[in-house]
Subunit: 191 residues, 2 copies
């Protein structure tokens, strides 16, 4: 069912080829026509599945985000305490982008992560990794008997996310060389 005029599953093939392509050549070099060619299909074929280039990029971002979320969930899954879970999550977060530095800017580059996820407007901050953080951060507060106001809670949580996301960002800055070893397990991330 993959031969002949109809491709079979072109939509997914385009997404996969696109992700493979930016891994090898970077986002800038990606063009609709090359992705189409990679799938042995004419340059206008993608328009049967995506409104425009951005819609393909959004689908690719969603696919990468899914992989990212799975890694975070895996890291957290066998941890006994919420504290351990948070640390494991932070390490997985940084590790993911250290291994795939191009993904950081691919995912957050346009900064409208709401666009490629279909976030419902009532609950705007349901970015999956953020949801996971929120869940374990709450658990962490409970387990340690820490009482904070809703506002303080949000601030502390964002600070936790910020340090992790900031480290991932710095780790991905090719121009800045630090003596920091991003995979050093001795470097504590969460205070």
């Amino acid at each position: 069912m993959a031969d002949g005029y109809h491709h079979g599953n072109l939509r997914q093939a385009l997404i996969d080829a696109g992700i493979r392509f930016i891994n090898e050549n970077g986002e800038d070099a990606l063009s609709l026509r090359k992705v189409a060619a990679e799938c042995d299909v004419s340059h206008a074929a993608p328009y049967a599945h995506f409104k425009d280039k951005d819609e393909l990029l959004d689908a690719m971002k969603k696919s990468v985000t899914d992989k990212f979320t799975v890694e975070l969930e895996d890291a957290v899954k066998d941890m006994e305490s919420a504290d351990e879970a948070l640390i494991a999550m932070g390490r997985a977060y940084i590790s993911f982008f250290s291994r795939n530095p191009d993904y950081l800017m691919f995912l957050f580059g346009k900064q409208n992560i709401a666009a490629h996820l279909q976030m419902n407007k009532e609950n705007k901050d349901d970015y999956p990794p953020f949801l996971l953080l929120r869940k374990y951060y709450k658990k962490h507060l409970e387990e340690n008997g820490i009482k904070l106001s809703a506002k303080e809670q949000e601030i502390e949580m964002i600070k936790t996310w910020a340090i992790v996301h900031g480290m991932a960002s710095i780790a991905c800055m090719k121009g800045v060389k630090t003596s920091f070893d991003w995979n050093d397990p001795d470097a504590r991330l969460i205070t």
Copy 2:
């Protein structure tokens, strides 16, 4: 001297027009030809001043980085203690990108900040904002009589930078809505 065949100061005019353009239309919409047209000059004229589009973009980034650095230095200048200086610097950092969210991805988007700054290869991490942080962080350690190994020092400093840069990044994520007020002076940034 700005009329006729020779423009006078086309190089700077292109940089300024380019920055103005991405402020209004975003980086994606920027093209060499439009910037050239904005300066009333033919589409190939920029090649007398820049090797290619990337070189113009690098010059624009350098210009934005300079403005950014000035703001950081201004924020720090009248502070008495290094602790105050660090906090002021962090707020100025976040404030700058909160006011100009497009700049964050413009500066760090390609992640090769070494490219648009002429960093000498011996001292790779002399990114101006980073140099400023290093200076005041050292002062902070001295003033408070804190003794750390070189490695610990680096780790703590990166953590400080990470939380500030991470907050700036999150503040710029249009898709993620937090209840965090990025200009709230009560939100302490440095521990």
